[in-house]
Symmetry: C2
Subunit: 238 residues, 2 copies
């Protein structure tokens, strides 16, 4: 009755390459995969809600998932948008508590769901796995802190500049890229309204960023970097 058979080759590669399971010995992985289900979600479907008991650890196999806090009145703070290979719900399971955030599909997606008890057993029995998780959580903590810093003390245009630069993989002299998802979602991730994103994008034209639809062209990454680091203040870069 193992669920491993439900995983195709692609899925398995995703699992084994994931930051979440990279450090898990094969035995641990087998144990966990024996207590696993696969969830299929359509766009906008909620995977878990705040208040629900955290009895699963999740891993994105295909599609995209957003995790956010607070939805009263449609406002929410996006903690992250997760893609293939990313895990979520881990902290809540480790705390043996209820979820504090909402996880919601942002496209059709396929998600591996490991039962919490199996996951916790694996953690307890395989020190290497536990150590890997420590690194992973440390990184998450780091990332959320970054997020807090940006949102709290950078104005919208700089947050966007910063975000665009993170999308650029190679530090070329001139970069061209495509936004990975809807602008409304990016705006939420950047802690602003879509309208503000639109205006920020327009402001960045002054630093050589042009866009058409989801296509962005950065004339001069270095200039953009300078801009994103500039002391928050007037935009009078005439």
């Amino acid at each position: 009755m193992t669920m491993k058979m439900m995983l195709n080759a692609d899925d398995l590669a995703t699992v084994q390459g994931s930051a979440l399971f990279r450090d898990a010995p094969q035995a641990a992985l087998d144990d966990m995969l024996a207590h696993t289900e696969i969830g299929d979600y359509r766009n906008h479907q909620v995977i878990f809600r705040p208040g629900r008991l955290a009895n699963r650890v999740y891993l994105v196999l295909r599609g995209k998932v957003q995790v956010y806090r607070g939805e009263a009145a449609g406002k929410h703070a996006v903690l992250g948008v997760l893609q293939r290979g990313a895990g979520f719900g881990v902290e809540d399971v480790l705390e043996a508590k209820r979820h504090a955030a909402t996880a919601e599909a942002v496209s059709a997606c396929r998600v591996l769901e490991i039962r919490a008890d199996a996951f916790l057993d694996a953690v307890a029995n395989h020190p290497a796995f536990a150590t890997g998780l420590l690194k992973l959580l440390s990184r998450s903590l780091h990332q959320v802190s970054d997020q807090l810093e940006r949102i709290q003390l950078k104005p919208t245009a700089q947050r966007l500049a910063d975000y665009l630069l993170r999308l650029v993989t190679d530090p070329a002299k001139c970069a061209e890229l495509t936004l990975p998802y809807e602008k409304a979602l990016i705006a939420a991730y950047l802690g602003m309204e879509p309208e503000s994103l639109s205006r920020a994008l327009k402001d960045l034209q002054a630093v050589g960023v042009t866009n058409r639809g989801r296509h962005i062209r950065i004339e001069n990454p270095d200039a953009l970097r300078d801009f994103s680091r500039a002391t928050p203040g007037p935009l009078h870069a005439t």
Copy 2:
């Protein structure tokens, strides 16, 4: 050459009762304490800065420490204010990276400093310790996420209300309390300027919060709770 002798009874109690070391077996604790120093810092002294190699794990023995991000132009986002028994710098050591934040004494304080290698050895050799750390990091992650949520989607008065309620330990019908540190620090922690804190405090008078200096009196905690949860919007609670 063990440093244990430098710890007085009080310090030792703090260490053993701390969330950081509670789950460490005695052997692990001994190993770590053998590679430990004690730092004494005066108010405003910096304990570590962003960019410095993370080669120590810290534990507050006495006094208060703030950890914050970004200080360009005096603006910073406070991640937390730590008191006796709280650890810091842990994530950075686990990631084996450089510090991303600044830690600064907020009063005269005494800090236990464990060498990173000894700490990492203990993690690797004592699964129970590692598991305890997983819970601890999960909790930190949770807390920073809370912080992000509050700052991103609650107005100043509600953030303050929320904060005051967290200071109330027993859920009495009427609470009286003393702010634990300067208002300027609280303001920074709440992501606002001191002036805004002052005004927010004044606004809360409408919900039965009175203050004189650092003394706060909450007439009706339930009303305050309602207020802090109210959908962000007008304050016309006439």
